[in-house]
Symmetry: C2
């Protein structure tokens, strides 16, 4: 039994290590995005076409490269935009932020994501860094973003 | 006439220069705050006690010192928080940001603003850097912020 446990502990460790190594295929969680530039916010209410899954208040954040891209409508590889969705809570003639529902990101890498015009998409449920939400290689996300082809597939626009 | 104009141009120049010099009494506009850390957002609707003048969606931004203060509940001199108020526009089962209504700021300087517990307050209408909104030395702003004395007079709290 001891030997079995030792063997399996080893297997679990290997899985964890290989998970890291194989992670080359996975899009990284955008560490530190809460300190990136806040681009804009929007609230989606019941009845909106995007209420499932985007009901709530969302904030969009851009890293430095994405910020430059927003100003030029052309995004360099390494650009990352985060869509940070929180519950929109009623607070007596006011709306305040509730718990995080999910985050979604789009990452520019022309070679890696060539099938989706250079953009990779991923999402994480709630505050999890493990529960990933995109399982079609970003095809459905990109299908919608294709509306914005002339702005390099990005909906958000920078405002002063 | 030429001489008059020359004299008055000089006077205008002097006024401009003295405006800068006398500006020691005025709180500076928080240049670049749109790239500071986005702390939180909230929407105030009709019927809320603060609807006049705070109707709309507001975002709070913190400079580096204020960000450290939010995490420690103690703000060092030089901390600046910006309250950025935009119109909250209806967009068919969604709410989007409209024009800027005003910005308000609070600035920590223990000596300069000792009458208001070390915090100075100022506001600017719309996108103007000239139309200032606070004319009572910040007394009314601080009267409300006194509710938050145990958090160094700041309402906003940092969230991940």
């Amino acid at each position: 039994m001891k030997r079995f446990l030792a063997k399996n502990a080893c297997f679990v460790t290997l899985l964890a290590l290989s998970g890291t190594a194989l992670g080359a295929d996975l899009i990284d969680y955008p560490d530190g995005y809460r300190l990136w530039a806040h681009v804009k916010s929007m609230t989606i209410h019941k009845g909106h076409p995007l209420e499932n899954p985007f009901l709530g208040v969302h904030h969009v954040y851009a890293n430095d490269r994405a910020l430059a891209g927003l100003k030029s409508n052309s995004f360099k590889d390494g650009s990352v935009l985060v869509f940070d969705l929180l519950q929109n809570q009623d607070a007596g003639h006011a709306s305040v932020e509730g718990k995080r529902v999910l985050i979604g990101i789009m990452v520019k890498d022309s070679q890696r994501f060539s099938k989706t015009d250079g953009w990779g998409y991923e999402g994480w449920a709630g505050n999890s860094r493990a529960k990933r939400l995109v399982n079609d290689g970003g095809a459905s996300c990109h299908g919608c973003h294709t509306q914005q082809k002339e702005r390099d597939f990005v909906f958000s626009q920078w405002r002063d």
